[in-house]
């Protein structure tokens, strides 16, 4: 019992704190240099000292995944770094795409592993009325 208590407390000692920020809230989809492909530009700021990787995802209104392309689906952003990124989606998918999200990726098997997963989602379907 004493051994269990010690291991739990030591394993979950508070880790480094920090922030995850993504802009803009309502990115604009515009015609990319490829016919039939729309593009949006976003920026992510990572101030979380316990996270270095963020995954990009795109979803429809019912939270079903929407296919997209990007230079990197998982971005390596060192703490304190800012990364501008573009996403590309087909014109047909632009009609249904609603949310574009970045999610912090937690590494397994490390003692300083984060226990809070943060996700920020912007809207691709235009600013609310």
């Amino acid at each position: 019992m004493r051994a269990l208590t010690a291991s739990v407390v030591l394993a979950l000692l508070p880790a480094a704190v920090g922030a995850h920020e993504m802009t803009p809230t309502y990115p604009e989809l515009f015609q990319s240099y490829m016919p039939g492909i729309m593009q949006a530009d976003l920026s992510l700021f990572n101030a979380r000292e316990d996270v270095e990787y963020y995954a990009i995802s795109i979803w429809d209104a019912e939270w079903n995944p929407v296919p997209f392309a990007s230079a990197q689906r998982v971005m390596h952003i060192p703490p304190g770094g800012r990364q501008d990124f573009e996403i590309y989606i087909r014109q047909a998918d632009a009609e249904v795409a609603v949310y574009i999200c970045t999610t912090s990726m937690l590494r397994a098997g490390q003692q300083d592993n984060a226990i809070v997963e943060s996700r920020i989602c912007s809207r691709l379907d235009g600013e609310r009325a």
Binding site: M1, L4, A11, L12, L13, A19, T25, L106, V116, R119
Partner: protein
């Protein structure tokens, strides 16, 4: 006199640049998620892990900053499984919840009453610009009064900020 004219000509661009310096900025809708305190599971009894201070734990605190009012929903999900644990042969019963622990303006005082809970998720409508701190409670109980095996236990809280 010639030297004076040259000196004036040299100084002119510097005078002009001193007048042209400006700082610009804009405020746009954005959300920032901060993990102010991650959390610790206490082990008050052999079959229980709890982040409650009453059980020797520390509740995680997550801070949401929104620059403009009424643009985002905060969605926080308490753990329903361990991401790291020893091999467990019995079921784990999870309970938990999320509540507002602190606010930057009094206008946010209604957030707790207006929150929507479903499954393990609690949703808050961030209708006021500023900072809100949310506290997450999490408890795991093993089997029927069965002792958790010794080892490292870790569970993940998901904090989301969704544009409205």
């Amino acid at each position: 006199m010639k030297y004076l004219a040259v000196a004036v000509l040299i100084a002119l661009p510097h005078m002009a640049s001193a007048e042209g310096v400006q700082i610009e900025g804009n405020v746009q809708a954005k959300c920032i998620i901060r993990t102010d305190r991650t959390g610790v599971y206490g082990n008050p009894t052999a079959n229980k892990l709890s982040a409650s201070p009453a059980d020797g734990g520390v509740s995680p605190v997550i801070r949401f900053d929104v620059a403009l009012a009424d643009y985002y929903l905060a969605r926080i999900t308490h753990p329903t499984s361990f991401s790291t644990s020893p091999a467990l042969t019995d079921t784990v019963t999870w309970t938990g919840g999320t509540s507002v622990s602190s606010v930057s303006t009094a206008a946010m005082s209604g957030y707790d009453a207006a929150k929507v809970e479903y499954d393990a998720t609690t949703e808050f409508d961030l209708t006021v610009a500023g900072t809100t701190w949310f506290k997450v409670d999490s408890t795991a109980e093993y089997g029927y009064n069965k002792a958790f095996p010794a080892g490292t236990y870790r569970a993940i809280v998901q904090a989301e900020c969704i544009a409205k």
